[in-house]
């Protein structure tokens, strides 16, 4: 085992009956990393997470953790923790008993057990809630109990299923900070599944973008946000102007525009609305729609390149519907896509 592959999935194939869900997935995760599996629903991210936990049978391929092959190790012997999206607290047990559940199964008793549970509860700030039932807690508190319940087991890997999606905006920020703190303090390897790019960008060290059971791109949040390599990832992280190139040429209704000198090998180019220069440039478009968003204003332009979305500071003078504007798509700022579709 090298450091780069503390948790390693190789040629992992998963299926629901005869319906393939994840084909031939390869992924290496370093010890102590905070990884986001990002993708739309049905992309296989939850299935992959369940396979790591041992809740989903592996059709073929290998899962190894800390140097050992765990492909066939049952879920209860894996030392992998999972915080469920619904938290899955035991409703008949108190907060204290929920946290003690796994430790008791390990055979821990008496003072040792009590100390461990108390410190687990303290670490998530719920010491005073020890005797409550899950139903008496808010969603955020329930999630912290679920987190404590998994963390006291000292898992090698902690999995989190959509950890922030059931929380309101304020709690989301709180929980995000909490997860980062727990991760820093314990050094546990964390993998969380999300469909929300903002969540992944804010929390993860590395993001794995998935589509239809396959990995589209792996990279740092900066990479994913600024340098998507496929049209799918570009679209997912908010590049709204995406163009396919044919041999370096952009197909427009006014003929081909040659961009091969700027992007010799790219299969496509993508721009965020922010990246479009409005008011000057070689292209012209007619304003078809406009919307005001506080500090910015968005325009939808009809152009020979197709519809273009542009966003400019609200401090700039507004353009009326039907106005004809010059604009530019600065090629040096574009994301170069190596895969399209």
């Amino acid at each position: 085992m090298s450091d780069a592959s503390y948790l390693s999935l190789s040629k992992l194939t998963l299926a629901y009956g005869d319906t393939p869900a994840v084909p031939d997935l390869d992924l290496d995760i370093r010890k102590g990393e905070l990884i986001a599996l990002l993708g739309p629903s049905g992309c296989g991210k939850t299935t992959t997470m369940r396979a790591i936990a041992g809740l989903m049978p592996v059709k073929s391929g290998r899962v190894s953790l800390d140097g050992a092959d765990i492909t066939r190790v049952p879920a209860n012997k894996r030392a992998v923790g999972l915080v469920f999206q619904s938290y899955a607290l035991f409703p008949h047990l108190t907060v204290y008993e929920n946290v003690a559940f796994g430790l008791k199964l390990k055979g821990m008793r008496g003072n040792e057990l009590d100390a461990k549970v108390q410190s687990g509860l303290k670490s998530v700030g719920l010491s005073t809630f020890a005797n409550r039932r899950p139903a008496e807690l808010s969603g955020g508190q329930q999630q912290r109990v679920a987190l404590a319940r998994s963390m006291v087991m000292e898992p090698k890997v902690l999995l989190l299923d959509e950890p922030l999606s059931n929380l309101d905006a304020r709690l989301r920020l709180e929980m995000r900070t909490e997860l980062q703190r727990v991760q820093k303090e314990t050094g546990v390897t964390m993998i969380f599944v999300t469909h929300d790019q903002a969540e992944a960008l804010a929390l993860a060290d590395r993001i794995v973008v998935m589509k239809a059971g396959k990995i589209e791109q792996i990279g740092s949040p900066e990479d994913i946000y600024s340098r998507p390599t496929s049209s799918f990832v570009a679209d997912f992280v908010g590049f709204e102007n995406i163009f396919q190139l044919d041999q370096g040429k952009l197909q427009t209704s006014a003929g081909l525009v040659d961009l091969s000198s700027h992007a010799p090998s790219a299969a496509g180019l993508a721009w965020r609305p922010r990246m479009v220069t409005l008011g000057s440039g070689p292209y012209r478009g007619t304003v078809r729609g406009t919307s005001f968003a506080g500090d910015s204003r968005e325009y939808l332009l009809d152009t020979k390149l197709g519809p273009i979305k542009a966003e400019v500071d609200a401090s700039q003078p507004a353009h009326a519907l039907g106005a004809e504007l010059a604009f530019d798509l600065p090629v040096e700022r574009a994301a170069l896509l190596s895969r399209f579709g």
């Binding site: 209860n76 469920f84 087991m153």
Partner: protein
């Protein structure tokens, strides 16, 4: 206006009188001092209630009914809990068929169930009376067990079992540690419902009862054919209060009505 306002309470009163009236008459008749079953009761005494406890066949049939109600319901739950679990947790082929077959004894009239059991099970296979009654009561209670336990399983998220497994429990251990405690109320409700159903069962038991082996209701019918004194009313009252007591206690401590 006044007439309209009184109309609904009046109808309500009639309905309640219709439901509870016969029961009140029986209770009143059981305190009669007279020699025959009559209403209004002639005088007041507790002699018929005392007599109930001295009739030998009542004691035997009460024992039999208790055995069938407790044993049959327990057997139905032992079969019904795993069945409910499988039906609610796994996408089994033919699950709907199983559900329908399991519910059949509720839908099919008891007379037919009794006759069919007698004709095609008891007679050809020479099943003993007690065993036949036990099997019949188990089958009759099974639908209630499956239905009520299923209802409480539906209300329980299945991911808590996975959570228990990831915390080190086996699959079976997870069932006993986190599923059973959370459906305990449903199981107790099913038990009470099954107990009352079995105890009050007449048509099936009528066919399967034999010499010396009778359930309580069958024995009461037989007794009334020979002796027409108020002790049957007294016994009925005692049994009714037993049932009411059980249901009341269940509602009070378990919230019985949530599951039925």
């Amino acid at each position: 206006m006044t007439a309209q306002r009184l109309f609904i309470p009046f109808i309500l009163f009639l309905v309640i009188a219709f439901l509870i009236g016969p029961f009140l008459i029986i209770v009143a008749a059981s305190f009669s001092a007279g020699e025959t079953l009559a209403f209004p009761p002639q005088g007041f005494s507790l002699r018929w209630i005392a007599k109930v406890f001295t009739v030998e066949s009542f004691r035997a049939s009460f024992g039999m009914s208790m055995f069938l109600a407790i044993g049959g319901t327990a057997a139905a739950l032992i079969l019904g809990i795993p069945a409910s679990y499988a039906l609610s947790r796994y996408k089994l082929p033919g699950a709907e068929i199983v559900r329908t077959v399991v519910s059949a004894p509720i839908i099919v009239p008891g007379i037919i169930v009794g006759l069919a059991l007698l004709r095609y099970i008891v007679v050809p296979f020479q099943v003993g009376i007690t065993l036949a009654l036990f099997l019949a009561h188990t089958a009759l209670v099974l639908p209630y067990a499956v239905r009520v336990v299923s209802a409480s399983l539906e209300n329980l998220r299945s991911d808590i079992e996975e959570a228990a497994v990831l915390l080190g429990s086996s699959r079976l251990g997870a069932f006993f540690r986190v599923v059973m405690p959370n459906i305990r109320g449903g199981i107790l409700s099913a038990f009470i419902l099954g107990f009352v159903t079995s105890f009050n069962q007449v048509p099936v038991s009528l066919f399967l009862s034999g010499p010396g082996v009778r359930t309580m209701p069958i024995d009461m019918i037989a007794y009334m054919e020979i002796v027409f004194d108020p002790s049957v009313a007294a016994l009925s009252s005692l049994l009714a209060f037993m049932s009411i007591g059980i249901v009341f206690a269940a509602e009070r401590f378990l919230g019985f009505s949530r599951y039925v």
